[in-house]
Structure formats: C-alpha cells, structure tokens
C-alpha cells in the first residue's frame, strides 16, 4: 500500500512518472512534425539516399520555393485571405446583430428563432452538402469565390451562441440610458454593444478563422477552378504524380501550417478559452 511507503520516495516516484508520461506523449505529438521538417530540408538526392530521420547535411530551402510555386500557393493564400476577411467580418456582423436582437428584444417569434438555430446545430453540416450542392448549383454559386463565402457565412451558430452568452452579462441599463439620451437602436448596437462584445468577438474570430482556413470539403466541392483554390485545396495537388516526392510535400505541408502556427503562438489563451466556452453547449 502507498500509505506504508515513505512519503518522500513516493512523491519522487510520482514526479518521475508524471514527467515521463508528459514527455512520452509530447514526443509522439512532435515526432510526425519534426520528421516533416527534417524531410522538407533535404534535396531530392539526399532524401532518396538517407533514412527519413537522419538530419540533412546542409539545409536545402529550395523545396519551399518549389512547393510554393508547384501548388500555386501564392494564389491560394490570396484566395484564402479574401475568403477569411469576408467570411469573418460577415459572420461576426450577422451573428452579433442576431444575438443583439434575440437578447435585447421581446417579440413574438423570438423563441422560435432560437429554436430554429439550435436545431440547425444538430444537422450534420458536411452530410447536408449532398443537397446543398444542388441548391448552390441552382443559385449559380458553384465555382465562384463569393458563392463559397456566402455559404460559409450562413452556418455559424456557435458564434451566435457565444455572443448571446456574453451579452447576458452586459447590463441592460446601458441600453436604457442610451435610449433616454435619444440614441437609435442601431447606434446602441454599433456604439455600445459591439465594442463591449470585443472579447467574445476575438474568441469567435480566432476559432472561426482557424476552422475556415482549414476547411477542405466544401472548398473542394464549390471551388473547382484552379484560380480560386484555397490553401487547403492547393495542398491536395500533391497527391497526384508528386505523391512520392515527400521532401516537396513536407515543405508544402509546413507552409500551409505557418498561419495557424502564428495565430496559435499569439493567441493561445483566447484559443483555450474559446475551446472551453464553445464546449459547454456540447
């Protein structure tokens, strides 16, 4: 039994075990990424002649350039950037406005609208693409960047949820005194509510931004044209005849991860709190 053992040895053992476990899992988490970095720095000859875990003799950065041009990533980054700007600003405005209405006004239909949005979370987004695809076709939205942007804006219940939750803690007396001062409801939303929602906006921007940047399935369905490919699709170019050139592939993979990595380094805290608050809903 633990009790009979001397406390000190037990706790040293515990500490050893704890760090052993942490290092073990951190090792397996990092390993695939490290091997990818190693490989991306070898030229083709060295890649073919050495084992994958042997460090490169000299760093060969040309792979990054080659992968970047081969997959048309310049264009893809531009497209992803455009998509992000519009989807994020659009969905932040739309969902904060809806949250404002649902939280601040009593009117017949308020509960119904909440229920409609809540029910929508249950519908499996990607599975629904079977029929969304035919609607997008009828609306002429396939193969246009704006079509994809509109579709991506329309499906964001999590942000609405985060905003409503946040707004419950913003005192109504702020609105009331503004009304007495003669401010219009739009002014109240724009000058009082929206600025106060900033922490929630940041959280929702980061989470939505990362998932939008990483989104592959719908992008691939609706953005077939080479000119309008996003980063996630452009990466898929490497499956074809390039399938064995892992030094190039790894370079491409790393390039595609850089934006997410930067966001992660800068906004760790917000990401963690976003994960935790988004999960309450389940």
């Amino acid at each position: 039994m633990m009790v009979t053992r001397k406390v000190k040895t037990a706790s040293i053992l515990q500490i050893f075990l704890k760090y052993f476990i942490l290092i073990f899992f951190a090792f397996w988490t990092i390993l695939p990424l490290v091997s990818c970095i190693i490989t991306s720095l070898k030229n083709t000859e060295e890649y073919q002649s050495t084992s994958v875990m042997v460090l490169p003799k000299l760093l060969y950065f040309k792979n990054f350039l080659e992968a970047f041009t081969l997959a048309g990533m310049g264009r893809a980054f531009l497209n992803s950037f455009v998509v992000l700007v519009f989807v994020l600003s659009g969905s932040i405005l739309i969902s904060s406005q809806l949250a404002y209405i649902l939280n601040r006004f009593k009117f017949p239909g308020n509960t119904l609208i909440r229920r409609l949005f809540l029910f929508a979370t249950l519908l499996p987004g990607v599975a629904m693409q079977v029929s969304v695809y035919s609607i997008m076709g009828k609306l002429g939205l396939i193969n246009h960047l704006y079509g994809y942007i509109i579709m991506m804006m329309g499906t964001d219940v999590i942000s609405i949820y985060i905003f409503i939750q946040f707004m419950e803690n913003i005192s109504v007396s702020l609105d009331e005194s503004a009304v007495i001062d003669g401010a219009s409801y739009f002014k109240i939303y724009w000058n009082i509510i929206l600025p106060l929602l900033k922490p929630a906006t940041v959280t929702s921007l980061i989470l939505k931004g990362v998932s939008c940047y990483n989104e592959y399935y719908c992008a691939n369905l609706y953005l077939q044209d080479v000119k309008i490919r996003t980063v996630a699709i452009s990466l898929y170019t490497f499956t074809g005849p390039l399938g064995n050139k892992y030094n190039l592939i790894c370079a491409g993979v790393i390039i595609s991860m850089i934006p997410a990595f930067i966001v992660f380094i800068l906004c760790q805290k917000q990401i963690y709190s976003g994960i935790t608050s988004g999960a309450v809903k389940g």
């Binding site: 404002y100 209405i101 629904m128 993979v253």
Partner: protein
C-alpha cells in the same frame, strides 16, 4: 411622450427586421431548404441532373444491404474505440497538467497544436509517417524492432484502420485535454487544499474530487464521439482514399454522392446519420438532466439559445 413611445415601437421593429432578415435567409437557404430536399431525395433514385424516379424506402434498405456502406458502419466502431482511448489519455494528461508542472504551458501547447492543423496536411504527414521503412518504423527500429519484421501499417487490412484511428487520436487528444483542463480548473481549489490537509494522495484526489466534478463533460464527450466516429473524413481521404476497407461512412457518402452520383442513396445516408445524431442528442439531454440533478456542476444556465 406618446409620440416618442410610438416612435420607439416603430424603430424597434425596424431594427428587428433589419437584423434578422439576412441570418434567417441564410439559415433557410443553406440549412432548412437543403434539409427538406435531402429528405425528399432520399426516396428517389436520381442524379443531380435529369429524371428522377420514386423508389420508396429502397435507398434505406440499401444502407444495410450494400457491403461498402454496412462495412463503414462497422468501421466506425474502430473510431469509437479510439475515442475512448483518447478520452482516457486526455483525462490523464489534463489531470497531470492541472497540478503544478514545470513547463506546463509548453506541454499543453505541444499536445494541443495538432488540433489547429488542416486535415489534408495531417493526411500527408501521416501517410509519410506510416509508410513502410519511414518515420514510425525508424523509431521502432531504434528500440529494437527490425524494420523487416514490421507490418505495413497502411496496407494490412484491419491494422490500417488502427493506424488511421491513431492519426485521429493524435489530432484531437490535445483539444479534449484542454477541454478537461478547463473543467478541472473550474473546481473550487479549496477542495484540493482541504484534501491535501486531510492527507489524501493525488490518486485519491483524482477519484474523489476531479472525476465526480467533471463527469458530465466526460460523458458528453463519450456520446459526441459516436457522431464524430461516423464523420471521420480528411485523414483517411488523403492517406488511403478509403481503399482496403478504410472507407469511413463519410468517405463512402462522398463517393456515392459525387463520384457515382447516386444522390438518392447519399441522401438516405445523410438522413440516417441525422437520425443517429437525434438519438445521441436525446441521450445527451437525459444525461445532462440526470447530471444536473445529482451534482452541482456547471453554472446551470441551461439553454441559452
């Protein structure tokens, strides 16, 4: 004063209409309209373009008689197994990290980062990782397994699914862990201090304080993993393309809809997935109700939407 009141009422409705029209329009166009269409499609034999014929419940019968679909349902058991392993590991790591740890934030960050990588990149990384004689085999050879004795991780039937599930655990473990750390942190720290004073060991603290207070979120995650298991997509899509019995429900659905254009059958698959999600949600609601009655977890805010 009266005129002002009327004005307010009027502008109230203006702002309501101005702010809800667009979201409702988008919700209708991209959620409810396709939902209705999908249910309708599921009773037809049809392609995206051209004639359609009513076939009744035939598509639903096909779900269980077509081998590829039925196999993909069985396959999701692998993923469910994987998510149980994932939850246990996430719980373990979260518990370790919620006590004072040197470099705790670094460990947390490392373990979490895979969640932010796009699925296609993960696919490539692990295709490379598991290829015979590559990363995984090399590391195993360091600890004494000769490469020749190792199996083909992505080709051997059965084993390939374990490899793919491993990939998915790698991807989501950190996210689960962060979730659990959040839940553990919300436990009143006085409880630990009191337990410490009473001489409770860390293991005892885990079973008597941590686990009871986060059991709701753990149960929710177990239930959620059922739908997650059916929706696994990108990594198998890149790594094996669904070959050798690795086609998950989603991959098969995608093939049925967009490669062979059996839109009716694909719709039936989607509707079936939806039914599973309904059942899971009802179970989840019951669990929540049960949990709220028995434990004082959560803020008890309930349905905000």
């Amino acid at each position: 004063m009266n005129i002002r009141k009327i004005n307010l009422r009027y502008s109230k409705w203006v702002i309501i209409l101005a702010f809800i029209t667009l979201p409702l329009f988008l919700l209708f166009t991209f959620t409810y309209l396709p939902f209705g269409e999908m249910v309708t499609y599921s009773f037809y034999k049809m392609k995206y373009i051209g004639e359609r014929t009513f076939v009744g419940l035939k598509n639903y019968k096909d779900l269980f008689t077509r081998d590829d679909i039925f196999n993909s349902l069985k396959l999701s058991l692998y993923y469910m197994g994987g998510s149980v392993v994932q939850l246990v590991l996430a719980l373990l790591l979260a518990t370790l990290l919620s006590f004072k740890t040197k470099l705790g934030n670094l460990f947390k960050g490392i373990l979490f980062f895979p969640f932010l990588i796009n699925g296609i990149a993960i696919g490539f990384i692990f295709k490379f990782f598991f290829t015979h004689g590559f990363v995984f085999d090399t590391v195993l050879s360091w600890v004494g397994f000769p490469v020749e004795s190792l199996p083909y991780w992505l080709k051997t039937q059965g084993l390939n699914n374990v490899s793919l599930v491993g990939t998915s655990v790698w991807r989501y473990l950190g996210q689960n862990m962060v979730l659990f750390i959040g839940a553990i942190m919300s436990v009143d720290s006085e409880l630990y201090e009191a337990a410490e004073l009473d001489g409770a060991s860390k293991v005892q603290q885990f079973f008597h304080i941590i686990l009871p207070s986060i059991k709701t979120i753990v149960t929710l995650n177990i239930i959620l993993s059922i739908t997650g298991s059916l929706s696994a997509f990108e990594p198998p899509f890149v790594i094996t393309k669904g070959a050798n019995g690795t086609g998950t429900y989603f991959i098969i659905m995608d093939q049925v809809a967009h490669t062979s254009q059996k839109v009716g059958l694909a719709s039936a698959m989607a509707v079936f997935l939806l039914l599973i999600i309904f059942v899971v949600t009802i179970i989840q609601k019951l669990v929540l109700k049960y949990a709220f009655r028995n434990a004082d977890t959560g803020s008890g805010k309930g349905d905000i939407l």
